[in-house]
Symmetry: C2
Subunit: 128 residues, 2 copies
DNA sequence: TTAACATCTGAACGTATGCTCATATGAGCG
DNA sequence: CGCTCATATGAGCATACGTTCAGATGTTAA
């Protein structure tokens, strides 16, 4: 019930008071900012790209559709690890798959994925 | 010294032998794939975007330069947490800063960062 | 100099993450 | 049917990560 007077605290709801340097700009930024759910989804999207195994898989699939064991060969990791990561990518809707007998072939679900990887690679390459 | 006969094992160096379904395609993909270091850097780049606090900070900075305490206000988290994440982003060379007295103002280091966020947002918004 | 303030930093702690290992499922084949 | 192969999955474990807390640093102003 009491009003917090802790210096470090900023009450977020109504943008008050304490410790704000440029109140107007803070309001403006909060106004433009996407809602928390969207930003969480955005973070989760990038999370899919943030592991070296997964990015290798995604990059490989951006070159060609591949079956699970060939993905493992390309990425140089165990089939089990690949399978776990593919599940992650499937659930993130970044890859799709088709079954052919006992084989399962994976490919990118969406061209955005390719674009994101390309954009990222561009940045990485510039940093050299 | 002994040659592994474990079925699950694929010797990566010379693309051999066991469990490869489409040997030609595997070779082709490996040929096109960036080297491990580049892919690791790529994963690290995306890692910077993969946390909801960091993406919030980056997105806020893509709207306007802000000082630390205003970032904390916008993101709704403690100044200390912000500071730790800013260090991360600084070391990833995604943000730059200028000092003005005791204040420190952060902004995006590079337009690629903005592009990546925009591209990601586009994907997220389409998924609805 | 002292006080107040903005920011930074290290340690500690709980949680999330990615791997391995063992095993399950499910298709093709003899 | 029973075997093999391709893939999937659950448990367990070690490591990585993000936060908080306490305190350090550095700047401004009285």
């Amino acid at each position: 019930m009491s009003i917090r007077s802790d210096v470090k605290t900023v009450i977020h709801d109504d943008l008050c008071e304490i410790n704000l340097v440029d109140k107007r700009m803070v309001k403006k930024v909060i106004g433009k900012l996407e809602d928390d759910v969207a930003l969480l989804e955005l973070a989760d999207l990038f999370k899919a790209f943030s592991d070296s195994t997964r990015i290798k898989i995604l990059r490989a699939l951006s070159i060609s559709e591949l079956c699970v064991c060939d993905i493992a060969a390309v990425a140089g990791i165990s089939q089990s690890a690949v399978s776990h990561q593919l599940r992650f990518l499937r659930m993130s809707r970044l890859v799709k798959y088709r079954k052919d007998g006992k084989m399962v072939y994976y490919s990118l679900d969406d061209d955005h994925v390719r674009k994101l990887i390309d954009q990222g690679l561009e940045h990485v390459k510039e940093e050299r």
